[in-house]
Symmetry: C6
Subunit: 263 residues, 6 copies
């Protein structure tokens, strides 16, 4: 039964292409220069790990508000590395796993990675992996401890590894001493000014009158910034499509998402 | 024995018609325009998920006071979707399940749903599913974590899924970071003004003098609003039937229910 | 061994007559009009559940101070219902059961009840069933959750069920959100004024001079009310019988019980 | 192995004479009228339970400071009852038992008692049975719950049972709602005034000059009362015997015990 | 595997000579009259237990700061008793034992002791046996409870037992109600005045100029007392031997140990 | 499966040369006289344990900020001891081990060490071994207790053992009473003044203009000290190599690391 749980572990080597592509379903819209900076920083890390005389292990964490695009950007960096091994370690594949199964799952992913001369492991949503919940607070200490050790454990002689992680809970990770276990960190911001939003709406080609959508939103939310993640923006566009008055609907959905942010 | 526990899992595909109908035993009385708004909002979601170019997963939560009709309305939206797969995930079917059996039960329901091109899963009473209790507080973190992942996990290529959930504990869910894991939320109010109550009593056809019932209630409870869930109202009508002075009895039962609300 | 634990589960159908009678060993003394009110309210519930067009499930909880007669009155209501199935679910039958055995025990009792067209289940002393203890506080959350679901779960098509419960810890149940899970509640008071006590003493026929017993008690306890449960009163009469000066002994024992109440 | 644990359970029926006698190794010295009062109160309970028309279950708890003689007095009352069944349930016989073994052990003792027409069960040191420790605080809730139910559970038709318990932690038991679960309670005091101590020393016949021992103690401890349990007094006499200056040694040991009391 | 864990339990009867001698590796240096007092007090206990008419069980606890010589002195008392059975119960022999294995281990040691007409059991470092740690605080309640019962449980008819325990955490034991479970206690002090230290240095014969070592220490630590355990003093002498300037090194090491005491 | 977990335990005797070398991948740069002091102090301990007449067990802990070089220095001391047995006990080898597996792993390492006439055990990162996390706080008490006993348990007759441990959490260990369980402690500082940094940069031979790197860093961080661990400095040099403007990049990376220190 435990064994059974690992029946569907993906082939040991190679790239989890399909899974990575799914993280990128909405593409990468270059709505702000920040996006390019993040991808450039990622590229640098990819280069550094490749260097034969550098430390064989490098870890970075992408953090930012919910839906800001952390997973998509990490997947993008990983895919563009063109390393022979690219693995995703996601809570989605661990539903119903108990603590020791989770640790075993992660251990297998890293053991595979240690066999490749050059590899990337993407640890998605690590607060979910450690089962964090603010009431209590509670989390799985064994899983957290395993993560901490894996983040610091050198790959065997001649192997090189880049670890990319994502989280929406930077301060929690800091309190758990997990944040500083990373060699580097990258902040992923929300969609900020209205100009950025405008770029996205134009590119979507969905609205007849994008400016009206923005104007209505401005009125509803009264603030100089959009401050909503790209994911909610894209979802808002889809919800809007179902309505006759698409512009108003979009403004409504995004205004509501914005209000939730503050709560 | 564990296996045995799943003997009575319903046939994998299709619609849990009987179960859904049972949630609707009291029908849907259109005692207020709110009811229609809620059903309309539900319809919109049903449409959006059907759209082949939209995100394949959408989740919404119906929240409101006890007995306000959350389960009935969610069941109504699900049944009217006419999706080929409609599944109920209710604490009623998990009595005596331990944490891992609960998670396995949910996982099977979602796995079935992932096999249908288009499906609805109704997660009823999620505070009960996660075994929430305010003293402590306590809850099952593994079940909560499984829920959080299932709410965000995309169905496989080509499958589309609508998740409807109900809860009477919105603020608890918010503290658990579970509330914001939903794409959208719908508030379900109590029966509000006395006109709404009047609509219900008329439609029931049980009282000889509905106005007297309302007048007595007004006197007992001194307030501008009824503020009791439709479920308690319907139960009050039935209790009243046992008494000779039906009107007074009804007023009494509802006044007591109203007092409990505030406590 | 676990199986063995259920060897002595009573025959599935029918009435647990002997057990119910044992709850009524002291009979029901009509020492106050309250007693009749409680029995009448119970009768009404019995009628309502029988009504073919009413909701098939109704639950009520009898609450009051220790020894006030909650169990006896609930047993009386159940026996007088003359329903074909009457079952007692008592902590007495679960000594040494662990959480899952307790839940299984309750589940079996309800499963039996669901097979009868009309049934009563008496859940005695539910704070003891959930293993409540004020230090901590501690209780069995799995048992509590199972109770909460069983209290709300409709019996299958065509079956009707009345659930009667008793507790000495109303405020605890309220904090656990268990109290409001009942459709109705009935308060069971202590023996109140001295006239009520007088009624009881007369009826017992044990004392040569009941008034002296009462006068001595009044002196010892200085208060306008007796405020002791019927159970302690009856025990006090028995203890008194062992003494030569029965009246004084009785007054002493009851005064001590009264003092303990306040502590 | 679990089975093995019960290999040495004593023969089911009859009197645990040897064990009871061991509790009485120091005899019962009538150093104060209190002692006679306690034994008389115990006798009354023994009579009441024997009465065929009285309630078939009666429970009492002896409480007092450490070493005050609770266990010896309870054993005395039990032995003098001359009931056909007298059983001791002591933590001494449960070393290394886990929670369920403890409960099983108690359940067997009570099951045996339920088979005798008339029986006494002596629950010695119940704070130790429930594994109470003030830091935390911690205790075994399952064992506590089992105790609470056993204290209230009527023996079967025609059987009668007296339960005697001892504790050094009355206030703890009160907080646990365990104290009020008893029908009656008996306070066991320390050796109080110096006259009482004098009685004991005289009776022991060990000291050449008992008054000097008392005078030295008075000087050392400055207080009007001895306030030390009979058990420590008797131990002090034995320790004194090893010393040449017996009187001084005795005074020293008792003064130290007295100081510990206050701490 | 559990069985295996007990493979290396020492032969049941007899004296654990080797183990006891190892506790005494540094001998007993009579650097202060206190040392003789402690040994004398121990001798008295040994005599008392031997007395055929005394209570068959006596327990004492040696407490004091870390390294003050508690274990060595307890071993000395035990060895000099010349009882036919002398057993050591030390955390060293329980590394990796879980709670039930620890309790089983202790139970076996006591069961052996109960078979000898006269025996000593040395419970070394009981805060470590119960797994005490101040953060939380945490400890093993089952092990603590087993200890408490074993400390009070009389040996069988005709057997006599002396229990000696050691601890560095007197106040913790007091809070756990474990300290008062002992019949007597013996305080073991640090090396106190500089004269005592001088005695030790002289006797060691290691320093060419012991007075200089003491003078340097005085200068470093500014205080009227040495206040360091004999164990650290002896270790300091050894460390000093590695250095060319032995006197300074010694002063340094001891001053550091002294500073740690206060922290 | 448990057995399997120990399949890859290294050969029992001998030196874990490869593992030790890996801890020293960055070599030991003598950037400050402190480094030589630390190595000298280590040498002294190595000598002391070798002394046939000294105590056969000595333990020391190296503590300091993250990345300050604790593990490398401990490995250096161990390797230079030239003892016949040198063992590493690192959290890296215990990923996914549960508590009892961890304890078994440590026990095996010590059991091997006890078989060698002379040995060093390096316990790396002990806060990770005991699974410390500041939220809660949580840690494995059984593992902690095993460590505490192993730190104090003498090797068998004729064997001698040096225990070296490292930690980044001195104050935590102090609160757990683990710090004082060591016979000695060695502080490992960060790179301190800019002169020390200059030494390192010169020796690396990577920068064309090391002084500019230092000047930029000074400007960014405004403080008299570098206060960053040697590990981060070496990593910063590698990251810098990927950039065209190496000096600026280096200054940036180190300034960021410095800022994190304070957080
Ligand atoms: N510039 C962009 N950066 C990131 N994502 C983008 C961008 N442009 C479009 N997207 C799309 O937006 C979505 C971002 O969602 P993603 O799951 O990556 O966010 P997230 O921050 O990981 O969310 P969560 O907090 O729920 O984990 C993806 O579908 C992605 O394809
Ligand atoms: N307009 C309405 N909306 C909802 N329910 C209605 C309406 N009219 C009648 N009903 C009936 O009222 C009852 C509502 O009960 P339901 O169980 O749905 O409430 P709930 O809010 O889910 O309660 P709970 O808080 O206990 O979960 C159902 O029997 C339903 O058929
Ligand atoms: N009017 C009455 N109401 C209830 N019980 C009565 C009455 N008259 C006599 N009795 C007797 O008094 C006793 C009441 O005890 P019962 O166990 O029902 O009390 P309780 O409130 O359930 O106690 P507990 O708090 O311990 O559960 C029974 O023996 C019952 O037969
Ligand atoms: N009057 C007396 N009452 C009680 N015990 C007496 C009396 N006279 C002598 N003894 C002896 O004193 C001892 C009392 O010890 P006992 O174990 O009963 O005390 P305890 O209060 O149960 O102690 P603990 O608090 O440790 O449980 C017994 O050996 C008993 O024989
Ligand atoms: N007078 C003395 N009293 C006690 N020990 C002495 C004395 N003289 C020399 N020693 C030696 O000092 C050492 C004392 O160490 P011991 O382990 O007994 O101390 P401890 O208080 O038990 O330490 P810990 O707090 O670590 O348990 C032993 O090696 C012992 O042989
Ligand atoms: N003087 C030095 N002291 C220590 N390490 C040095 C020195 N010079 C160079 N190094 C190198 O610096 C690195 C120090 O890293 P090391 O892992 O020992 O630090 P650490 O303090 O143990 O880190 P952590 O806090 O993560 O456990 C090693 O690669 C080591 O070879
Ligand atoms: Mg993400
Ligand atoms: Mg509902
Ligand atoms: Mg009752
Ligand atoms: Mg006792
Ligand atoms: Mg010791
Ligand atoms: Mg390190």
């Amino acid at each position: 039964d435990f064994e059974h749980a690992f029946d569907d572990v993906k082939p040991a080597f190679g790239v989890s292409e399909v899974e990575m592509q799914r993280c990128l379903r909405g593409g990468i819209i270059h709505f702000s220069p920040f996006i390019d900076d993040i991808l450039a920083e990622g590229k640098l890390m990819v280069q550094q790990v490749q260097q034969p005389d550098s430390t064989p292990l490098f870890s970075a964490i992408l953090h930012g508000p919910p839906g800001s695009g952390k997973t998509a950007l990490a997947a993008k960096i990983a895919l563009e590395s063109e390393y022979p091994l690219i693995k995703l370690c996601s809570p989605d594949d661990m539903v119903g796993f108990n603590e020791s199964m989770k640790i075993e799952h992660m251990r297998r992913i890293f053991d595979n990675a240690y066999k490749s001369p050059l590899g990337v492991v993407l640890l998605d949503n690590i607060e979910r992996i450690i089962e964090w919940v603010p009431i209590g607070p509670r989390f799985s200490n064994p899983v957290l401890q395993a993560l901490m050790v894996l983040l610091k454990k050198d790959p065997p002689e001649g192997r090189r590894l880049l670890i990319l992680a994502t989280t929406g809970e930077r301060s929690v990770l800091r309190q758990l001493d997990l944040f500083t276990a990373f060699d580097s960190d990258i902040a992923v911001p929300n969609v900020g000014g209205y100009q950025e939003l405008s770029n996205i709406l134009e590119q979507s080609g969905v609205f007849r009158n994008p400016q009206r959508a923005i104007d209505e939103l401005k009125e509803l939310s009264r603030g100089e910034n959009v401050n909503v993640g790209i994911k909610k923006i894209l979802l808002g566009i889809e919800t809007a499509k179902q309505d006759r008055d698409m512009e108003s609907r979009f403004a409504n959905v995004v205004a509501r998402a914005r209000a939730q942010m503050g709560s």
